[in-house]
Symmetry: C2
Subunit: 108 residues, 2 copies
């Protein structure tokens, strides 16, 4: 599933916003989303699965709970796709300066 397919859904975007604040258990995420979007826990779990499968989130077990964390790799891909449009709104920067400012060098 392509990154943009994942981000298309407002529920998934909201979940990612929550995870951007820090790790959350599945149930914590579900509580917020159920309230804000009026959908069931099962639906939230399905969205979490999409996020896992597409690399936007990672999970670890904590007893019966599942702790989710954001993984920004696919978001960086989106950011990289936007690069070709940046010249329309960003002031001119030389190539090296841009590299440094944007921090998009290969991870070491």
């Amino acid at each position: 599933m392509h990154a943009f397919d994942v981000l298309r859904d407002p529920v998934r975007r909201r979940i990612l916003e929550l995870l951007a604040e820090g790790e959350h258990a599945s149930g914590e995420v579900a509580a917020v989303i159920e309230r804000e979007f009026a959908i069931t826990q099962a639906a939230v779990s399905q969205h979490l699965k999409v996020l896992r499968d597409s690399g936007f989130a990672t999970v670890r077990a904590d007893g019966a709970r599942r702790i989710y964390a954001v993984d920004v790799d696919p978001l960086q891909d989106v950011d990289a796709w936007l690069d070709r449009f940046r010249r329309f709104w960003e002031p001119k920067l030389d190539a090296l300066e841009t590299e440094i400012a944007r921090g998009r060098r290969k991870r070491t």
Copy 2:
């Protein structure tokens, strides 16, 4: 239609890539897309309509031709949404430096 709904479609993303290179007539876009995606000219026209309606593209007439240009406002919205995740991959910059580097001040 939300920006991410628009960007979800690979044909529309490809059209935006073409428009990022410069203005193109509807027919020029259609020629490329028909070849690359094997869909009809009518389908391409429908995608162009979506891009128009959602603010991603503007059109002007040139005789019977319709010349399309990219409008990056919605792309900037996407870029802004990504801001909350940038700290996961960007080196620390102070607030002002970030403002300058990212060029996201109000348009003057």
